[in-house]
Homo-oligomer: 359 residues x 2
């Protein structure tokens, strides 16, 4: 008997298509290699969804109700990257980000956006002395300034007023804070840092700080501290090794995780999971990078972030051995990279990592 | 006949008091040294305002209407830093940041928050290869998520909802964008980068982008580009030399300028001006760093950021020679710093810079 995991695959646009192909290659290799040891064989049954700027240009659809319902009926989602060429006039009114990517995160209640950062051996950080970097950002994914609340008045006139409303609820903050404490508890350093801007964003700041204080009482072995988001960016470049688990809101998490990707050697390596921990809806895994239309179709994108996103997917599906196998294979591949090997094509990198899993 | 400039001085809390003493020492030296060449002698007449956490603990006042009116009647303001010991229960309901610092910025219509970044010769950046860093962030100072709009419902219950409203107006955005273009025009590279998050914060993003596009038409020799705030943080660590003038909103500017301080060798060097370009109200100059209660009173704080803030003040008062003299003196002092000289006290650094201005 084998366990069937139904995977919705959204390659998306640009390099998304190229890196997803490699991620799936590695997924299959990892599952084949670990099936025995898991006691039960695992099969990923894939359904591909053509969504993104390309689909919009063809059909005018960003995300139909049918597609959303079908995606939601899967066990997990792998997404490459979505978004067309910046400034393309035909995409002016599309807003693929809000209408597709954020729509999926919100509809599928991905309240945890999990983004681990580490500097792999052999990878060069732009920091002169980064130290031992190994932290995870737990970014809230369904609230904050990302809700799309707000509006605009007298648009295009000298009297225009545009507002954006950050919405934060006790319900939404508490569940992501609990997830972060649970995670901190499992890690050797057991440290949690709340990042916010409580001195200015007082209403939401108090809610976040109060929630962290209350939940902390249930986790006496987790050390808790706090940093304003501006100060946090300083430590990201002066002492990123100080961080273990960071919990923060949707917008601060967006900013901090790109910075985290940069200090750890490039967002070509940064993986992420949009997780619905309750299991009501499928979780979605995607590299942090975008569709990079400027280098699309050239087979020069690094598929590592997408491949590491598959490792997060396997973790979440209760297949930690396969996940670890991928991480080990990626670690070995990164450590072996030389200036010459950076000329490998996207599929050559995927092939190399997949091959090392078979052996 | 001499020109009298009435300066309101707010040393504030912690190291604010120590660094302001040195900044004033250097101000007086710079003015004395350049008076002749300016054709007219200049005298700074100083009024000290005791404001901040210390004052609150003594009197319960954060900022009285009388103090605000009196400060507003001055020609310029020099501020050290305000804020007590984090977590001090007696300050729980004070909110010095909102009630004092932001109150001043908003009441005095400081719509330009000017924050230049450069890596001075001899200063070590945490980046391995920073390149030639020389950019200015023009941060909007009176709108965005800093307005204090928003609120909270059912506080302390499981049904709490807390909102923060970012308010953006055509009036407010256009004036700061124009300032940024004017500034870009005067700089050798004539480049302006709008930083926002237009793909998510669509209402305010469109206002900012449309305004930049419209004003750009009047500045054909300024090259304009755009970055999402998350992507901007990547370039801050991978290629900060690419930036010239950055224009951005209040919150993004807050985050980016701390990061800018970090990559350029520490916020101990980062100066800022809260500017009211119309002259209706006095502009306020302050180091970007805070009151650092942990090192206060020990004479170990670096007064350089406060001293460079005085240079910005002199620029704004139409005294560019004195400003340049200070920058040159600081540049020489920084270039001459050795591991041994980092043991100089706060006042020794101020003395050294002031002395070099007299000679
Ligand atoms: C594309 C964009 C909407 C998205 C975000 O802001 O969340 C991206 O930057 C990310 O971090 O996944
Ligand atoms: C102290 C705080 C309110 C302030 C801000 O957020 O503007 C500070 O961080 C700054 O950058 O001047």
């Amino acid at each position: 008997m084998s366990r069937v995991i139904r995977l919705a695959v959204i390659p998306g646009d640009g390099i998304g298509v190229e890196v997803v192909a490699e991620a799936l290659k590695v997924l299959d290799a990892a599952v084949a290699a670990t099936a025995d040891s898991a006691g039960e064989s695992v099969v990923f049954e894939k359904t591909e969804f053509k969504l993104g700027a390309a689909r919009f240009l063809e059909t005018g659809d960003v995300l139909t109700d049918e597609d959303l319902a079908s995606i939601a009926s899967h066990d997990a989602i792998l997404l490459g990257a979505v978004g067309g060429v910046p400034g393309d006039p035909r995409l002016k009114n599309a807003n693929i980000e809000r209408g597709l990517l954020l729509k999926l995160r919100f509809s599928l209640d991905h309240y945890v956006n999990l983004r681990p950062t580490t500097i792999y051996p052999g990878v060069t950080s732009p920091l002169a002395n980064p130290g031992e970097v190994d932290f995870v950002v737990v970014r809230e994914g369904t609230e904050g300034p990302y809700t799309g609340n707000g509006g605009a008045l007298r648009v295009g006139t000298p009297n225009e007023v545009a507002t954006e409303v950050s919405v934060n609820t006790a319900f939404g903050v508490e569940r992501v804070v609990r997830y972060a404490f649970d995670l901190a508890q499992t890690r050797p350093r057991k440290k949690l840092t709340l990042v916010h801007k409580t001195n200015v964003l007082v209403f939401s700041g108090q809610l976040w700080q109060r929630t962290v204080n209350a939940v902390a009482a249930e986790y006496p072995d987790v050390a808790v501290d706090y940093l304003h988001v501006d100060a946090a960016t300083i430590f990201f470049v002066t002492n990123p090794a100080k961080f273990d688990v960071i919990v923060t809101d949707n917008l601060f998490g967006d900013i901090l995780t790109d910075l985290a990707g940069a200090i750890s050697g490039g967002i070509g390596l940064a993986a992420s999971g949009n997780i619905n921990p309750t299991g009501t809806f499928p979780s979605m895994f995607e590299p942090v990078h975008g569709s990079a239309p400027d280098i699309a179709g050239q087979q020069i994108a690094d598929p590592t972030a997408a491949i590491l996103s598959v490792a997060l997917l396997l973790d979440q599906q209760g297949l930690p051995e396969a996940a670890t196998a991928i991480r080990d294979a990626v670690t070995a591949d990164l450590a072996g990279r030389t200036p010459a090997s950076t000329s490998r094509s996207t599929s050559e990198v995927g092939d190399a990592i997949a091959a090392s899993l078979h052996s």
